[in-house]
Subunit: 436 residues, 2 copies
């Protein structure tokens, strides 16, 4: 059978991984796919850089739009990142009847509904395994492997940069800024790390995971996003004393009233496998009603791990590209006519447990004031720790773990506590999940 013909848009890190792995494992991949996978050309702006990344063999072009719609191309692989021109090019490729493989989480989290609808109408596939958790085949696992399940929640370490930073802060007792600088030197963090450290990248990914887990349209704008830039070493150490580790989690949870979609630093029990995922590694836990808890672990970024997922998609698309669209796995796991309009809950309605650190004047009665404010709002306390802080222990840190409560109620309680005379600094509030 003739080789399937692939166009690459973009010639960066992931593209160079795709070229290398397709070349190195050519025979192995052909034996699996039943036919060869051949890159016909690569679109890149800077051809000198592209040559350095990809070698001399492949034809290059600067005309992205022409390549995305060329007659002799079966699959367009979009590896440019960012919204435009990636969005226009993907839509143009779809309109020209090309299947698309993309690693672009931002694009799909923001414009997935438009793109999937266009693909559906044109009868082509848009595959995006590489957009979530790099080399871990988590999209396939949730969409196909766990298709029997009513999925209850998905919780994942889905940003390697922040997990590297948190691991180092805990391991070495360093502060955020020091570790960030070190991560940038080692290549674990970008020169502009905003998307990673502010939780935006993880939010793109949990948006996609939530959609395929629950069969709802992609709704990035309703995903709650909180990063790790404000996190202090003291809280990592206090969490540790209480038997928890702090991870930046993406969480998608089904509740009776709607779906929670949120990214924030989270205390999880130190004994959980997820708590022991260190460095730049990623892992996703999925709780299904039939299967129970499953965990998927691996490299969440990097040239070849991401290429591994891009090529797995290429093999899938190769297999099915001449098949009736009804034979294909739906883009968002559920048939296009079967998506649900389950609401995404605002944070004020999310139910979770909390870690609070309150810096107080060291005097009698303070603790009673705080706990009675919490009690009045039905927030019950699970554990408490008190530690001297400041110079010569001039004040005291009161650390509280609460049981589950509604965030709106916690917000009210915190406003009251913050207003107390004896409370000296802004209260630190983190969320805590038992992941059971």
């Amino acid at each position: 059978m003739n080789a399937i013909r692939i166009a690459l848009l973009g010639a960066g890190t992931v593209a160079s991984g795709v070229v290398k792995v397709l070349d190195r494992n050519r025979e192995e991949i052909r034996r699996r796919a039943g036919r060869g996978l051949e890159i016909v050309a690569v679109a890149a702006r800077n051809h000198a850089k592209a040559r350095a990344a990809l070698g001399e063999a492949l034809p290059l072009t600067t005309d992205f739009a022409a390549l995305a719609t060329r007659d002799d191309v079966d699959i367009v692989v979009e590896l440019m990142g960012g919204i435009e021109p990636a969005r226009s090019l993907v839509l143009a490729a779809i309109a020209a009847g090309k299947h698309v493989v993309t690693a672009n989480k931002a694009l799909l989290a923001l414009h997935g509904n438009e793109i999937f609808a266009a693909a559906q109408a044109r009868g082509v596939m848009v595959a995006f395994e590489a957009a979530v958790a790099g080399g871990i085949p988590i999209i396939k696992a949730v969409r196909e492997g766990l298709a029997a399940n009513r999925i209850e929640w998905v919780a994942g370490i889905i940003n390697g940069t922040t997990n590297f930073i948190l691991s180092e802060m805990r391991d070495k007792g360093l502060d955020f800024a020091t570790v960030l600088a070190q991560a940038q030197r080692l290549g674990y963090a970008e020169a502009d790390p905003t998307f990673d450290i502010e939780g935006v990248d993880a939010a793109h990914k949990i948006t996609l995971l939530g959609s395929i887990a629950f069969g709802v349209p992609v709704q990035f704008e309703r995903t709650h996003v909180e990063g790790i830039a404000q996190l202090e070493g003291a809280d990592i150490r206090y969490a540790e004393l209480l038997g928890y580790r702090i991870k930046l989690l993406g969480i998608a949870r089904r509740t009776a009233t709607g779906i929670e979609l949120r990214v924030h630093p989270t205390l999880i029990p130190a004994s959980r496998l997820l708590a022991n995922v260190e460095g730049a590694m990623n892992a996703v836990v999925v709780l299904g009603d039939a299967v129970g808890a499953t965990l998927f672990y691996g490299k969440g970024a990097g040239s070849e791990p991401t290429a591994s997922s891009v090529i797995a998609d290429l093999v899938d698309v190769t297999r099915l590209h001449t098949a009736d669209p009804g034979h294909r796995v739906p883009h968002l796991a559920f048939q296009p006519g079967e998506l649900a309009d389950t609401p995404i809950l605002p944070m004020s309605q999310v139910r979770t447990a909390y870690y609070l650190r309150v810096r107080v004047r060291d005097e009698a009665g303070v603790l009673a004031e705080i706990t009675s404010i919490l009690a009045e709002r039905g927030v019950s306390i699970d554990a408490m720790l008190q530690r001297p802080s400041g110079e010569n222990g001039a004040h005291t840190d009161v650390i509280l773990l609460t049981h589950d409560t509604i965030e709106g109620r916690m917000d009210e309680a915190l406003a009251c506590i913050q207003a107390l005379d004896s409370v000296l600094e802004p209260i630190v509030r983190l969320r805590k999940e038992e992941l059971r």
Copy 2:
């Protein structure tokens, strides 16, 4: 679209899970699959028992052969276990043009080549996600999710009974027989636990994983099988002191000269995630050249976890059952004409590291004798531990960790050491893997 019509052969634990989950998640599964999944009848020998397990709703029959070939059945689900009559029924179903979903690892490990060839010739699918690691979608991950990779090795905790026993032995310092009895009371071990504790069940599974990882025919007869019945608590404790845990691993590894396929108790570094998989849980690590190490974790047995995989296969088959066979994933991951004849290595040619415990008379020169025998055969020592043993420390246990060597050479060395006058008891020899 009409519902897909399913026949169940068998009405045991897994069948009852399939019935329950299909019923409970009917809507969710239909929204994913694009059509309903309907069980038309169940074949069972004992109808009173079947009614108790499955409820009153489903038609029962005792005529397995008639149900397996009935005109109004699209997919036959074989959940009987054992070789016959399962093998004949599966072949009859295939001959009648039915797709088959099975959880029967023993059948596929022993007769997979015959069954897959028959399915290929008849243009039907045989899906077996439930045959390996229960609810973990590991077959799909290796066969599709990691299709870009040259897989280097697969190592898994793929038998929950033995992992439960090993976890309890380590946690509570109990001996094998005590924990086995407890596991039987709790339902973690069968009344006749032979297949589990002797490693046969794990060997069936690693045989299948090895085939899909490396694209070789199923060869259970060449898989090395060693169980945990001989394992002593002392070795678990010594391993711990040296920073290792003992797990029953199934290992499939590609080497320059052939493929290793083996099941045996294995020391692995305590810091590895795999070492921290406790109780009846399963986990599989796959090392691919592009993706690096990935890990897949979940429940490896039980009614609903196994049903989760059976139903995932049903959804896959439902999607593709009218498609051209060329659009399907090949049974053993590689196209049928593309399987390799790479040899499976005999144990004597396997390369691994070792844990040795030698009980010796407590006298000068013994250690020198042992280490010089090892050195003569090029076996180098990585770590050593010496502990008094016996009443009043009448003798000494010498514990050695070696670097990698060829098993045949280690066998020779052990024969010489065993023959020494100062060696008092049979040497304990376990294998050690760093899983890097």
